[in-house]
Every structure is written in structure tokens, then in C-alpha cells.
């Protein structure tokens, strides 16, 4: 479908541009704004890939929770929220390393056929069956790791720690 290809090219362009802008703007609050657009854009790509459950999860967890957490991180660590970062030079070595990685990966991608592949759609109840039966132990492990992480984060920020 030409329409879906066009939609994907549009969304992919927005994703790359917002990801680069979020790292290049000098005000941290603007960074959060760009990264929120990036997360919403990726959620739209998931909807395009016929994965609506993951799209909603991306909206709720990334565009919602992670963005607000990062905003709180900025609010509690600076006197004025809208204050500029000191300019950091963009060294040749990091840009070169990133470019080499990109060219290497693109060369590997070139091995694949460029013919369009069919994206299968899912019944969400099948996904929940798979998530809680077949992959149940992994979900349980995720819950335990999250519990440990919350305990660790509370330990890190508690008052009176030497």
C-alpha cells in the first residue's frame, strides 16, 4: 500500500528529527518536549504495525510516566527550570563513531530484500494469553526487578544517608 509507506516515511522522518533535536537543544525543558513528541510518534508507528496494545503501552509508559519523571528530575535539581545548559562541543570522535555504527548497520540492512513484507494483525486476547501463560515467568521476573528497583531508588534518595 502506497499510503502506508508514505505514512511510515513521514513518521520515521519525525522520529529521527525529534531524537536529534532533543539532544541538540540547549534548554532541558525543550529536550523533554522533543522527546515527548518522539515517544508519541513511535506509538503511532506501533499502531501502523498493527500492535495497538503496544502503542497504548508506549503512550502510557513513555509519553506519560517517563516524560513526567524526567520533568520532575529537572524541576528538583535546578533553581530555575528554564535555564540553559552550558554549550558542549560536538567532538569529531563521537560523531564519527555514531556514523560508523550507522553505516555498518545500514550495510548489514542492505542484505535484506526490499520487497514489502506483510504485517500480521493480532487478537489482543491471544497476546494476553501468551503474556500470562507462556511468558508468565518473564512477567513475574519483571515485577520482581521493578520491586527491587523501587526499593533501590528509595534507598538512594532517602534522607540522612551518609
Amino acid at each position: 500500500m502506497i499510503l502506508e509507506e508514505l505514512a511510515f516515511v513521514f513518521l520515521a522522518g519525525i522520529a529521527v528529527v525529534t531524537a536529534v533535536l532533543s539532544l541538540l537543544v540547549r534548554e532541558l525543558v525543550h529536550t523533554i518536549l522533543w522527546i515527548a513528541i518522539f515517544f508519541v510518534d513511535l506509538s503511532a508507528i506501533y499502531f501502523l504495525l498493527e500492535a495497538p496494545f503496544l502503542g497504548v503501552l508506549q503512550l502510557g509508559v513513555y509519553a506519560g510516566a517517563v516524560t513526567v519523571l524526567l520533568l520532575f528530575g529537572i524541576m528538583v535539581t535546578r533553581k530555575r527550570i528554564f535555564s540553559r545548559e552550558a554549550a558542549t562541543g560536538i567532538g569529531a570522535v563521537p560523531v564519527g563513531l555514531a556514523l560508523v555504527t550507522f553505516i555498518f548497520l545500514i550495510a548489514a540492512v542492505g542484505e535484506f530484500s526490499s520487497a514489502p513484507g506483510t504485517i500480521h494483525s493480532y487478537n489482543p486476547s491471544d497476546l494476553s494469553q501468551n503474556l500470562f501463560n507462556v511468558n508468565g515467568p518473564w512477567l513475574l521476573l519483571l515485577g520482581l526487578i521493578m520491586l527491587g528497583a523501587v526499593g533501590g531508588a528509595i534507598y538512594l534518595v532517602r534522607e540522612g544517608r551518609e
Binding site: V16, F102, W138
Partner: protein
């Protein structure tokens, strides 16, 4: 049914991974470092979601389940990372990682 080419998706996730690596190597602010890691992680999740749709069947469902677990891991990582940001800010008065030279905060 949707028809999309594999090359475009792999190219997009390669570009996002490169942007993430660039951010990790150049930025010195801890929050920007966290954001770079999130961008790179989203590139990986995008691959899982695409190939889940591409394969179909049980393997595809497993791919989507892995993507769900990865999104949870990423949120956990941000929570712990912000805990470290607050501890670093309290100990040093800055969140510049270049000044976090002692292992003990």
C-alpha cells in the same frame, strides 16, 4: 493486513541507535544521558515489534510479549536513574557526570 518493507524499519532503528550512541558519547548532563539510552532502547523495541508483525503466529506473539517486558524494564531504568540523579545532586550540587569522580556518592 498491512504491507511494509523490512529495510525501512531496520534503517530507522539503525538511525535511532546511532543517535543514542552519539548522545551517550557527547552529553555530560545525567538526564540527557538517560534520554540517549531511552532512544537507543526504543530502537531495539521497534525491531521487536516489527518482526513480531512480520513473523505472525506464536513467535510473533512472543515478540510482542518481549516488547512489553522491555518497555517495563526501560521505565524501571529511568526510575533508578532519577534516583541516582537526586543522590548526585545532593552530593555534588550538580548533575554533570564529568564531576562524579568518586564511586561513593
Amino acid at each position: 493486513m498491512t504491507d511494509l518493507s523490512v529495510v525501512g524499519f531496520l534503517g530507522l532503528s539503525s538511525a535511532l541507535l546511532a543517535v543514542g550512541i552519539f548522545g551517550v558519547l557527547t552529553r555530560r548532563n545525567f538526564i540527557l544521558l538517560l534520554i540517549s539510552i531511552e532512544i537507543a532502547m526504543n530502537a531495539a523495541i521497534l525491531n521487536f515489534v516489527y518482526f513480531a508483525g512480520f513473523l505472525g503466529g506464536t513467535s510473533g506473539l512472543t515478540g510482542q510479549a518481549i516488547a512489553v517486558v522491555l518497555i517495563g524494564f526501560a521505565a524501571t531504568e529511568v526510575a533508578v536513574g532519577l534516583g541516582i540523579v537526586l543522590a548526585l545532586n545532593r552530593a555534588k550540587g550538580t548533575i554533570n557526570v564529568a564531576q562524579a569522580t568518586e564511586l561513593r556518592l
